[in-house]
Subunit: 124 residues, 2 copies
């Protein structure tokens, strides 16, 4: 558990620093990245590193929350690009040897509250 | 940790069964529900139960994944309404006495893959 939590900490630190060697070092060779919203899947360490390395924009990230148990970690991160901010939620699975073997990302976007619930909710 | 994980299991089972008494029993009186995408916040057990009770549609849910540690639980659930399916990710915090004191929900929607990464991703 501790190993995977630490690997995920290094994963995000390396991504934010664009240190792709350190980033690759957190991943198992057959890592699979899944994006359920687009139904995309990126298979293998080399492709996954390229996917991140080629991602455009001067984004930076901070970790909002981490929840970890044996073999699984979830992070909630905030990505900023200029004035724009995005939340990301990532589910990590470990390979049992301290590396990340699967990452499933969600990128929820802002939306307007549906009608009919303003009597129960405050907006911030 | 086990207490909160069990409370979250009862929370989702009660929601799916529309058993609002059992649902309320999993919550602390001052529970706070936060929806970062709409910037809504619902404060207190009574309002939060109403929020769920009044939510329209013949939705049903299944739990896709749970990650739990001391005082924190994350769930990934799938909601279905007829043919439509939605993912939800919920971060739970415990009150230290086996009840849920905070819930933060994300509802990520499908989107089209950005251009320029089809060489790295397969679509399913």
């Amino acid at each position: 558990m501790t190993d995977l939590r630490k690997a995920v900490g290094r994963f995000w630190a390396a991504a934010d620093a664009r240190d792709w060697t350190a980033f690759a070092g957190t991943l198992s060779e057959d890592v699979v990245h899944t994006l359920p919203q687009t139904r995309e899947q990126i298979s293998g360490r080399e492709r996954y590193v390229r996917f991140n390395r080629e991602y455009p924009g001067d984004w930076h990230l901070s970790i909002e929350r981490v929840v970890a148990e044996a073999g699984q970690v979830v992070t909630w991160t905030r990505f900023t690009v200029g004035q724009e901010e995005m939340n990301a939620i990532s589910f990590f699975t470990g390979d049992g040897a301290g590396r990340i073997s699967a990452v499933t990302d969600f990128w929820p976007e802002p939306y307007d509250p549906p009608a009919g619930r303003a009597h129960l909710a405050e907006r911030h």
